[in-house]
């Protein structure tokens, strides 16, 4: 296979600019020139909860839709808990009671008076974005985030899964052609970004997730093993949202592929240093490859 390696970079030292923004408008906590570390929160807000339930209040109470309003205990905007009564009807001095309860935790988003229906929506979901890489704020994006700038090494993989992760670079193998297996993994690797050689096995992936390793960088992975690890087939080259307990970046391709010497050497020269990785991959238009950033020390 003659590959294009389009969008794949290998830089010893370069200026790295990361745009850090929340997916909505919110509060930005930094200003231009601020020094930030990887864990600094840049901006935060809340987003609308996609979980919503429509409740036919009138059928629960057994009344005409346009009569529902008089039985409502909650109004638009009120907080409700799951199973909390939101409307009640009483007859014969309270001897016959019918109630309508909220199906979820959230708030009353809409009460349609004439239709006798309510939409209960889950509470807003908090979102925040961290700097991910240590550096300086080069630009502020009002109400959304900022651009963080730093100098460091940058290595792109060809494919990855899992989102952003950070940790100290550690090596499990001495040569780029060696496989990353459970035998070369130890308790000392917990919380680190572990660099392997030609391939990572399924057992090693599972062990890494169990022992809270933050990430793995390796030359290849067997496509079948990755499918089994993820628990589903990889359809499109659009990743980053997987919740599998760690981030995996492959630098060469699927199967057994010794990591290129120059990549291995560059990563090895930063052994023990903090790295920020992101497995997010987007192959198609506006290609996005997974990346390993190692900020310059000092």
């Amino acid at each position: 296979m003659n590959v294009s390696r389009f969008g794949v970079k290998l830089e010893d030292e370069t200026l790295i600019r990361k745009v850090r923004r929340i997916p909505t408008q919110g509060e930005v906590f930094v200003t231009v020139g601020d020094a930030v570390d990887a864990e600094t929160v840049i901006a935060s807000s809340t987003v609308r909860n996609p979980e919503a339930e429509e409740v036919k209040v009138f059928t629960k109470l057994g009344v005409e839709p346009d009569q529902t309003e008089r039985y409502m205990l909650k109004k638009e905007g009120d907080q409700v808990a799951k199973d909390e009564v939101i409307a009640i009807s009483r007859a014969f001095f309270g001897r016959f009671t019918k109630t309508c309860r909220s199906p979820i935790d959230g708030f009353i988003e809409v009460f349609a008076k004439s239709a006798g229906r309510v939409i209960v929506r889950g509470n807003p979901i908090p979102v925040e974005v961290k700097a991910h890489i240590p550096g300086k704020i080069a630009e502020v994006i009002p109400e959304e985030g900022a651009v963080v700038e730093t100098r460091g090494a940058l290595v792109n993989g060809v494919f990855g899964v899992g989102g952003e992760a950070r940790g100290e670079l550690a090596f499990a193998v001495d040569q780029p052609g060696e496989a990353l297996t459970t035998e070369v993994m130890g308790a000392g690797h917990k919380g680190k970004i572990l660099v392997g050689g030609s391939v990572v096995t399924l057992e090693a992936l599972r062990k890494a997730a169990e022992m809270d390793l933050n990430g793995i960088v390796t030359g290849g992975v067997d496509q079948r093993d990755l499918t089994d690890f993820l628990g589903h087939e990889i359809g499109l080259g659009l990743t980053g949202e997987e919740k599998v307990g760690l981030t995996l970046i492959i630098t060469e391709g699927f199967g057994v592929h010794p990591m290129r010497d120059e990549t291995f050497r560059l990563l090895k020269s930063h052994e023990g240093e903090p790295a920020s990785i992101d497995g997010t991959t987007q192959i198609r238009q506006r290609i996005l490859r997974p990346e390993i950033v190692i900020p310059l020390q000092g």
């Binding site: 996609p50 067997d222 496509q223 359809g235 499109l236 699927f254 192959i283």
Partner: protein, 591 residues
């Protein structure tokens, strides 16, 4: 100047390539004088589509020794036409009243105009209104097509659907500050009321003739034209550089898929044939059909041979990819090859990788065809007058696709341009589509089908000439039988007599694929005599007498039955591929 204008400079811009073609009258016909292509420049760093257009046109000018680019724009001496598809199609949402009636017609109109359908909404949709609103809000289409009601028919329900769009406050894909283009193709009596709901300050509404003026009538042309107009006026101008390009071109810039659809429809009409064409790209698979004069297009987004190849494996299942692989190859290896084609976007492939891609293309086409059957349907909601005889006819099937009455099959996409794949392109199409009876097989060899589609309105004769001469390559004519028997049992005998007086006779067993040599441009008379268990399209055991034309693979006799699965013995896959290779003319006698 007048004679100069008999020449055409036609540019097609897709997400990767910008291809310019120069067409001119030569002698008593039209011919392609040259082509040139460069990478498309609509994305960063260039962010100006005209940079790629300039490079392609200048390159073409250099090849031809002509000045095609003068003072920063096309010279103007030739008619400039353009099609474009930089994002796989027009992102569209469709809404109607009844899912199977007006919505389905609107869906067909949108797909025919080159849409990439994001979602479809109906008044009789079982999901609650607020869910539809949420979904609409999340999609950001480029154009919304609203249909519903026959002329003089339903009003309140159509206005309700317009109200739904309004309530959802659907924002256009190209930016919040712009108006959302809406094409209204429903009940003509309530156009004004619709425009009062979808107000001018937020919507650029264009009313066109109803897609379903009567329950028994479908009228898709005006809706397609309306989509082209909205695309030209409100969508394309927001892409970088298109404002300049629009000034240079003659007429509308239409989506590439629409240009392909137009030429395929014209070709089928011109020849009076039913046609089925598949276009397998890196990320999408399009299927086009023309049956009894009715055109349909469907799009399987995210099913393709590079970016979309992993999705083929996901949708079809690894076992369906594996079934087309001759020889011993492990599932793990196939999976890794598929993953690498997707992730690495290779520029060339090894033999093994090519075999995986060939297996995947069969499944991509099969999936595309399955989906196409759901779009290419007879009109629903129409009362059918059926007599006893009709009860058994396939015409009453919901789909109008009839593989027994498919006279022409066309393969399109880079896989069919690769010389190695071309050797077995007939087999790929036969395996995936499984036509039966008599079918001519073609591939688009030059990738200029969209260009011929653009030329169609200006010069139909030239467009069809170029399509036949420079675009379509005939691979052969296939005669396929339906039926089942034990492997090796005689299925048919065939005799062929060429106009040059050469006769060939063959006996073909069930499960076999054989070819009779007949070159491109040659014709012959064939008589096919199936045994009593087999049907060549005229009834079990009845013989077929027909005139056929040749191609690179000659006349292909396909006695694998219909439908056929993959053989138990894997060697048969190699034997089938071998049988398409050119061979010396079989024992021949002068008549």
């Amino acid at each position: 100047m007048g004679s100069e204008k008999e020449s055409y400079l036609i540019v097609d811009i897709n997400s990767h390539q910008t291809k310019a073609v120069f067409i001119e009258r030569t002698g008593d016909g039209y011919g392609v004088e040259g082509t040139s292509e460069t990478p498309t420049t609509v994305d960063p760093p260039e962010l100006d589509v005209t940079i790629g257009v300039e490079k392609a046109v200048r390159g073409l000018g250099q090849k031809l020794g002509r000045e095609l680019w003068v003072s920063g724009k096309p010279s103007g001496a030739h008619r400039l036409l353009c099609s474009s598809s930089t994002s796989g199609g027009i992102y569209m949402n469709v809404a109607g009243l009844i899912r199977n009636i007006s919505t389905e017609s609107a869906q067909r109109a949108a797909l025919g105009a080159g849409a990439l359908l994001q979602d479809v909404f109906s008044y009789n949709d079982p999901q609650p209104r607020f869910r539809m609103i949420e979904r609409m809000r999340s999609l950001r289409p480029e154009i919304f097509l609203l249909a519903g009601g026959t002329d003089g028919g339903a009003e309140a329900q159509v206005l309700n659907m317009a109200g739904l769009i309004e309530e959802a406050d659907v924002k256009p894909r190209f930016g919040d500050g712009y108006k959302l283009p809406v094409v209204y193709a429903g009940n003509v009596d309530i156009r004004e009321e619709v425009s009062k709901v979808l107000t001018e300050d937020r919507y650029a509404t264009r009313a066109v003739d109803n897609v379903r003026p009567l329950i028994e009538t479908e009228n898709l042309g005006p809706a397609r034209e309306g989509i082209y107009d909205s695309y030209m006026e409100h969508v394309i101008v927001h892409s970088p550089g298109y404002d300049k390009l629009v000034e240079w071109v003659e007429g509308k810039i239409i989506p590439t898929q629409a240009a392909i659809g137009k030429i395929l429809y014209a070709y089928a009409q011109e020849r009076g044939v039913n046609l089925l064409a598949v276009d397998v790209g890196g990320a999408t698979t399009d299927v086009y059909s023309v049956y009894d004069g009715v055109f349909n297009r469907s799009l399987n987004a995210d099913i393709g041979l590079t970016y979309g190849i992993s999705n083929i494996m996901k949708e079809a299942g690894i076992e369906n990819i594996m079934r087309w692989m001759p020889g011993d190859i492990s599932e793990r290896k196939v999976r890794n090859i598929v993953g690498n084609i997707m992730a690495l976007q290779p520029e060339s492939l090894s033999d093994e990788e090519r075999m995986v891609q060939q297996s995947a293309v069969r499944e991509a086409i099969r999936l595309g065809l399955e989906q196409h059957k759901n779009y290419a349907t007879r009109l629903k909601g129409v009362r059918l007058l059926r007599d006893l005889g009709m009860m058994f006819e396939q015409a009453l099937e919901p789909s109008i696709l009839n593989l027994m009455k498919t006279q022409v099959v066309i393969g399109r996409g880079s896989i069919f341009n690769d010389p190695e794949n071309l050797k077995i392109a007939s087999l790929l199409l036969l395996d995936a589509l499984q036509p039966w009876g008599l079918t001519e097989i073609y591939v688009d060899i030059s990738s200029i089908m969209p260009h011929t589609g653009m030329l169609l309105d200006s010069n139909r004769e030239a467009a069809l000439q170029i399509l036949s001469k420079a675009c379509l390559r005939k691979l052969g004519t296939c005669v396929a039988v339906k039926g089942k028997a034990e492997e090796g049992v005689e299925a048919l005998t065939v005799s062929m007599s060429t106009s040059g007086g050469v006769s060939v006779e063959e006996t073909v067993a069930y499960g076999e694929l054989k070819t009779l040599p007949l070159g491109a441009g040659e014709s012959a008379k064939i008589v096919v005599n199936p045994t009593k268990r087999f049907d060549v399209g005229v009834g079990r055991g009845r013989s077929l007498d027909a005139k056929v034309t040749g191609g690179e693979h000659g006349v292909i006799i396909d006695a694998r039955g219909r439908p056929f699965g993959t053989p138990i013995k894997k060697e048969a896959l190699s034997v089938w591929a071998e049988s398409l290779k050119p061979r010396p003319v079989a024992p021949a006698t002068k008549t």
